[in-house]
């Protein structure tokens, strides 16, 4: 009963909505197709470009971590379609509550690349203004953000505003009590929230089979929340599924749950070594379902991706990679005394005393060692 090692990590199962197959051919899906009938080849090329750029950002950030420029990086390799497809179903009025892995979503939302990297460099806890981009900052506590998204959506109802919130979560998070409680609240108050679960099959070393003995999407109906399983490596299907959920939210239909079935092709983070717990066969299987390759094949099949178009896509990715690298490498370290900033909105006598004492302490070093307050004393 407790034999976790017997649980398989493999998955794709029937009942998963798809519009573009892994080989780039179209798939008929009567439920999803009408939702993306307006998406022409030009728009699909834009989605393709977004995915290529996200992947380039991921490669660059991984390299920067290896070079010691970032403290840590959570790769999103393989999940580009889930991130780009879901984001493009939203408007700027919708509020996003991401996990730590939605750095592609953050980029597409407009967040500054250096800002995004500041968190992973260890320079700041937050790389953008959540209110400016209607996007919360990376949530590290697994599943906590699903409650925030639900509460935000309850607020939208109270304010009579037609918008929605979306909570990104993973298969691992689906085990957390917070996630279940958020679904209870979302259903009770018919909150316009989308639970967007990227089932990437691995929670660090634990296969999805340990978190769920049946498809994760199957849980939501038990809470009274309609759900859908979608091929998370099919950007068009993800866009359609998220539009389905968004339409429900905007029309007073309440919460929806999407399970985007995808795969974490990289490590959990750069601190992780996945060769300790998963085999190459699985990796090869999922590599053959690559989210970018299928759109490339699809667009090529329609004659929309010639050399010039490919060059344009590559140029954008390269530009972003360079911007990321420069922004990261040239990022100044935070000043020592900022360690006391923003703990409270106004003064706090005890902390103010500690700040004063530490300022004197650093000043004493400046006197004895000739260093400045802003400099490092080590």
């Amino acid at each position: 009963m407790l034999d976790a090692s017997a649980i398989s990590g493999a998955s794709p199962q029937p009942g998963i909505h798809q519009l573009i197959a892994a080989d780039g051919t179209s798939v008929a899906d009567e439920e999803l197709a009408p939702l993306v009938a307006d998406v022409d080849d030009d728009q699909l090329l834009q989605l393709y470009s977004d995915m290529v750029t996200i992947r380039r950002i991921d490669v660059e950030a991984t390299a920067l971590q290896r070079q010691g420029q970032l403290a840590l990086w959570p790769p999103m390799l393989g999940q580009e379609a889930s991130q780009a497809g879901s984001l493009h179903a939203l408007t700027m009025d919708d509020f996003i509550f991401p996990t730590y892995r939605e750095n592609g979503v953050a980029y597409l939302r407009g967040a500054d690349l250096a800002g995004i990297m500041s968190t992973w460099r260890g320079s700041a806890n937050t790389g953008w203004d959540p209110h400016k981009f209607n996007m919360a900052t990376p949530q590290i506590i697994i599943g906590a953000q699903t409650l925030h998204a639900t509460g935000y959506a309850m607020g939208l109802v109270l304010d009579g505003k037609e918008a929605l919130s979306i909570a990104y979560l993973g298969d691992g998070a689906s085990s957390q009590g917070d996630v279940h409680e958020s679904m209870v609240f979302a259903a009770s108050f018919q909150a316009p929230v989308i639970f967007f679960c990227q089932n990437n099959h691995w929670a660090i070393s634990e296969p999805v089979g340990l978190q769920a003995h049946a498809p994760i999407a199957g849980r939501a109906p038990g809470y009274g929340i309609p759900s859908m399983r979608v091929d998370g490596n099919d950007v068009l299907a993800v866009l359609a599924a998220t539009r389905w959920a968004a339409n429900r939210a905007r029309s007073g239909g309440g919460p929806s749950f999407i399970e985007a079935v995808t795969y974490r092709m990289g490590a959990h983070t750069t601190a992780d070594d996945p060769t300790r717990y998963r085999g190459v066969t699985e990796l090869e299987e999922w590599g053959a379902r690559d989210p970018i390759a299928r759109v490339r094949a699809f667009l090529q099949g329609r004659g929309r991706l010639d050399e010039a178009a490919e060059a344009g896509v590559a140029a954008r990715a390269d530009t972003m990679a360079a911007e990321l690298r420069n922004g990261c490498i040239n990022m100044p370290d935070p000043a020592p005394m900022t360690v006391f900033d923003n703990v409270y909105t106004t003064e706090h006598a005890i902390l103010d005393r500690q700040r004063d004492h530490y300022e004197r302490y650093l000043a004493a070093f400046a006197t004895t060692e000739g260093t400045t307050l802003e400099g490092s004393r080590s």
């Binding site: 407790l2 700041a124 957390q176 070393s205 634990e206 340990l210 020592p336 360690v339 006391f340 004393r377």
Partner: protein, 336 residues
């Protein structure tokens, strides 16, 4: 004697406890196939089976809560919380259930859980990976709280914690995981120092410097540096945070008259506050100066680029020593 890292010593302690008692089971996230994110449980699933080294779903409340149920059945669960900052979803189960069940049931139900928590900073991690939450648990009656500083204590005290019929929070200083030391793997547990005993780790005469966990080695370095200035520090490793063993601290302060307490956790209501009060009550007439605390600030743990400013280091400890000795220090001129 074997030369082991702190992680290897904990691993050996877990192995010994599982060999000695078939009711010992391990639970946690990524502790099985992966061997834990710090490799503390490396190889244990292979040797003891996945029924005793249990990779759990991602739910800290469930890890602690189901361990309570297992304890009702007579098991001795050893739960791993992956990082200090991840313990809070399990906080309710620890505080409301684990800590209280023995008293609630008139002593009829025992909760021999051991909850292992890698804690503290200094490893350049993102938010929630560098916290020092020990005071919450010291403040909670019904729990015993341990923090080890070296491989031998890690091996011995982990076995003592698992053998203990009370629930034990076992804090492991993650930035010292690779520290090596001699470990006597065959030591008789009944002859080991008591789990609740603090220890003088460096004898001295001028100032008593009390600490635990990751800062013990920093404090020992500070003692060496102070000796170069002709100042003799007596360093005490608390080892047990609940109960506090005041004996060696009292003995020391009666000789030195001066007390400095240092820890990574925030100052307000931290162990330093408790020890300053406890020693003032016990040794008031021996104190030559007010006890001094050298601690992390009262702030959420900062981004890693700033953590060196938050964490007490050798220099800040020595500044505290100067303060308690009335030597020139960073706050000279402020004292009234």
């Amino acid at each position: 004697m074997s030369r082991l890292t702190l992680t290897q010593a904990i691993n050996a302690g877990l192995r010994k406890a599982m060999e000695d008692d078939p009711k010992v089971v391990l639970m946690g996230e990524d502790i099985g196939t992966l061997g834990g994110v710090f490799r503390v449980t490396d190889g244990l699933m292979k040797d003891f089976g996945s029924h005793r080294v249990i990779d759990t779903p991602l739910a800290e409340s469930a890890i602690i809560g189901t361990a309570v149920g297992l304890a009702y059945r007579g098991f001795r669960p050893v739960c791993e919380i992956q990082f200090d900052g991840f313990i809070y979803p399990g906080f309710d189960q620890i505080v409301s259930q684990v800590a209280k069940l023995h008293m609630r049931t008139h002593g009829q139900v025992r909760m021999p859980l051991t909850i292992r928590v890698p804690f503290g900073g200094g490893i350049g991690s993102p938010e929630h990976h560098s916290e020092s939450p020990e005071a919450y648990f010291v403040h909670t009656s019904g729990l015993r709280v341990i923090s080890v500083s070296n491989p031998q204590d890690a091996y011995t005290m982990l076995r003592q914690a698992i053998a203990c019929d009370d629930p034990v929070l076992f804090f492991e200083p993650k930035r010292r995981y690779h520290t090596k030391g001699e470990v006597d793997l065959d030591a008789d547990l009944s002859r080991a120092p008591a789990m609740g005993a603090s220890r003088v780790v460096s004898a001295g005469t001028d100032v008593t410097l009390v600490t635990y966990g990751p800062l013990v080695s920093t404090a020992l370095d500070a003692a060496k540096a102070a000796a170069d200035d002709g100042i003799s520090l007596e360093v005490i490793d608390l080892r047990s945070l609940s109960p506090l063993d005041y004996g060696p601290i009292e003995d020391s302060v009666r000789r030195t008259g001066r007390l400095v307490i240092t820890h990574e956790a925030s100052e307000t209501l931290g162990l330093g506050a408790e020890i300053a009060a406890g020693i003032t009550e016990r040794c008031f007439n021996y104190l030559e100066a007010a006890p001094v605390r050298v601690t992390g600030f009262d702030i959420p743990y900062p981004p890693s680029k700033l953590e060196k400013h938050h964490l007490p280091d050798l220099d800040r400890m020595l500044d505290g020593v100067d303060r308690v000795l009335g030597r020139p220090n960073s706050l000279s001129g402020l004292e009234g």
